[in-house]
Symmetry: C2
């Protein structure tokens, strides 16, 4: 074998800028109906890159591309696809094709695909795969959605406590020779040591196993300080544990403490992305990543949030309506009125976002809640005074009226203080009440900063100006 | 050795709810000055949990806790701390203590600590550690911040191409026996195969090495399809590659293609969190996670964003000012006016957030940009019509005037269409211009939806009502 590096291997710096070029070439070949050309174009790519191209295409071209790519690639591409896109692609595949793909995948990826199928198709696919695989998939499907049970890989490497390092290495070499290959997962990081009841007693990292001599008992190499993941643990909690402990793989146990699978970091990275995405989109009132959803689904999902916001806006208008007489006398108030509400909304959103994120990362707890709220009140107060001076001066010069400057300045301080207090406390209160603070916080916040903003400004104006 | 599971090992389900209790006990012991008590309380915890407690405490208690914990724990706790907290803690430690901690850490964690010290302290710490470690740290510091060079671990396991599996295993057992232990990193996932010039030719995953027989050449076990990370690659790009390829470790190369280190997934998970955090906070106008910053730093950082927003708000007021005469005649307009602007802002933010996130995840590219904008226009149009009907009806009933209902309905359609268009295009344009869309997008968006919202509503009112 040559000792020269393989010149054909794909380097990162090269393929990143070429993305658009590859996309365009694929689109051209698809539109010409040049199936072998498409196969050649994507055949050289990593399956993850092919999945990305499928995602970027429009629905019709997607199905054509999936038909054109090599059958060997299909399972891995399917596993990599975004959920909405995968649903779309699966609809156009027949049951045999799906079953063939599911057969090729590891149990965690297979479950992800099977769980998305409609009940009759699901049954057909399950019927078309070997008994052993079917049982594993059915067991996983029995666990709640978004639980460790759905996330885990069923295939693990386990050895009994009385084995030595040599026994373990021989066992792995034997399993590799075995043509069935049913025992060993293709890639793994830890070997679990289990007691006779199947309960994990320790884990051997491969790099520790490898530097130990053959006669050493596995119980001397294994780490006993395990993070055991109960099979029902929520995936968000799993992600937290992995990040906290810098884990690469962790054993999953059932109610009886028996090892039932392992979660690996690659699946956790996907969960981390999902959870982040949920928080970020929830703050803006988008239910889930809807980039790939049909327009009608997106419209419906967003309508709900906008409707809630309409109530908020009408509420703010009702507050303004209370001061109709004041507005009739001083139209300048109508002109300046949105400034105080808008500044409060922005300042509150800053605080709110920091608090929502800190809650999600478990950095904000009862221990420091009072300190955080206190700090936000201070920040709101200082910025409130600074912006009171700036805005007051602007209003004074603009309308040649120092009283109007005073009114807007006072209202600004009030609203910025309220924004700091509300921005920090709303997420804490919601969290304590068991409501996801990312979803509901911002409506409450803008309601408060709008109502207080308009009420303080117009109310002070009515008191001072008239 | 017993075959029973260790009853004392910490399980996840137990320690999560106990967090507040532990915090309270630590605070109590600290306030009583009970140093041995504190040591006992945190001595049983994982270093990551200790770091979390340090973060949640106020600055004075933080320093007291760091003093009270065992010296063996200090290096790992320091490495786990949030940047702002670490800075605070380091300020109170003397140079010898810091140097002692840096000596214990792996090169990537050591660099993270050294890079935060002031120049004179940095020199003192570097002088106090062994030559070999110092050279590695200095080399890493020479790479740009947030580059692969800073992220990587310098210690790697490499073998030449002519070795066999047996040679590799023997080499690792020898290195483990060697008391110096300078060669092998404590935990690793891949062994890199390098040519005589030190360039990586392939990587052997340990689980593949372990199932191969001793006489097999490493060149037959290794994977040659490597993702080589150039040492200057930005960490965001590194995170993308890891997620895309489900990598656990990857070789880092210098300009000459020589292996200089390896990046492991635990560091990448931290980068993923950082990058997500940046995007989420940037959208709300918060520069970085400022939960642990002093109030004055937070106030300054947020002031800038609020000032920019003040200009936007004043601009909106100027637009309203254009219609002073109209407002004087129909005060109802002043009452309803914020509704259209607010709904546009909310609808636009939904679109904007989806677009910013899709850009960050590289799901939005030139290939699908036109389709995404088209979809957002459609969604904006449909929701615009729906909310035109609802809001028009509300306004009509409220003010007993169908023309005012018509005006607000028309303005709503216009502003929701504009919001969809602007929400999708602003991030794309900024991204094309090389500006981070997360940072600047939302100011542009609210400026547009406010200006268009007020102008369309008051302008149409001036045309139709008067």
């Amino acid at each position: 074998m040559s000792e020269q590096p393989d010149e054909n291997r794909t380097d990162i710096p090269k393929d990143a800028p070429d993305q658009d070029v590859v996309d365009a070439a694929v689109v051209e070949a698809l539109d010409k109906g040049d199936v072998p050309g498409v196969g050649q174009l994507v055949g050289r790519l990593h399956y993850a890159d092919v999945a990305d191209i499928v995602e970027r295409l429009d629905p019709e071209r997607r199905d054509k591309l999936v038909e054109a790519i090599d059958n060997d690639l299909v399972p891995d591409v399917l596993a990599e696809l975004d959920e909405a896109v995968r649903e779309d692609v699966l609809e156009d595949m027949d049951v045999e094709q799906i079953a063939a793909a599911v057969r090729e995948l590891e149990s965690d990826d297979a479950v992800e695909i099977v769980e998305e199928l409609e009940a009759p198709d699901q049954q057909k696919v399950l019927d078309a795969i070997p008994d052993m695989d079917r049982r594993l998939i059915q067991e996983s499907l029995a666990y709640p959605e978004d639980s460790a049970g759905r996330l885990m890989q069923r295939e693990t490497v386990t050895v009994p406590t009385h084995w030595t390092v040599g026994d373990t290495i021989d066992f792995m070499r034997r399993s590799a020779d075995d043509s069935s290959d049913g025992e060993l997962p293709p890639t793994f990081y830890d070997i679990f040591v289990t007691d006779p009841a199947g309960r994990p007693v320790g884990a051997m990292h491969l790099s520790h196993l490898l530097r130990s001599k053959r006669p050493v008992p596995v119980t001397e190499v294994m780490a006993t300080e395990l993070k055991l993941i109960p099979v029902t643990m929520d995936q968000e909690e799993v992600a937290f544990v992995f990040r906290q402990r810098d884990l690469v793989s962790a054993p999953v146990i059932d109610d009886g403490g028996r090892l039932v699978g392992a979660i690996t970091v690659d699946d956790v990275v996907d969960v981390i992305h999902e959870e982040h995405e949920e928080d970020m989109l929830a703050l803006a009132g988008v239910g889930e990543d809807d980039l790939y959803d049909a327009a009608v689904d997106t419209t419906k999902a967003r309508f709900r949030w906008l409707l809630v916001n309409l109530f908020t806006a009408v509420l703010a208008s009702l507050v303004i309506g209370l001061f109709e007489a004041t507005l009739e006398q001083v139209v300048a108030l109508a002109i300046l009125m949105p400034i105080v509400a808008s500044m409060g909304g922005n300042a509150g959103t800053q605080t709110l976002t920091v608090a929502v994120r800190a809650l999600a990362m478990r950095e904000l707890t009862t221990t420091n809640a009072a300190r955080v709220i206190g700090k936000e009140l201070l920040v709101g107060g200082i910025n409130g005074i600074l912006f009171a001076i700036i805005t007051g001066a602007v209003a004074w010069v603009w309308f040649q009226d120092q009283t109007i400057g005073l009114v807007i300045g006072l209202a600004m301080v009030v609203n910025m203080l309220v924004a700091g207090l509300a921005g920090a406390s709303i997420p804490l209160v919601l969290d304590r009440a068991g409501v996801d603070p990312a979803i509901a916080s911002s409506v409450f916040l803008t309601t408060i900063t709008d109502v207080v903003g308009f009420f303080a400004f117009l109310g002070l104006a009515a008191l001072i100006l008239l």
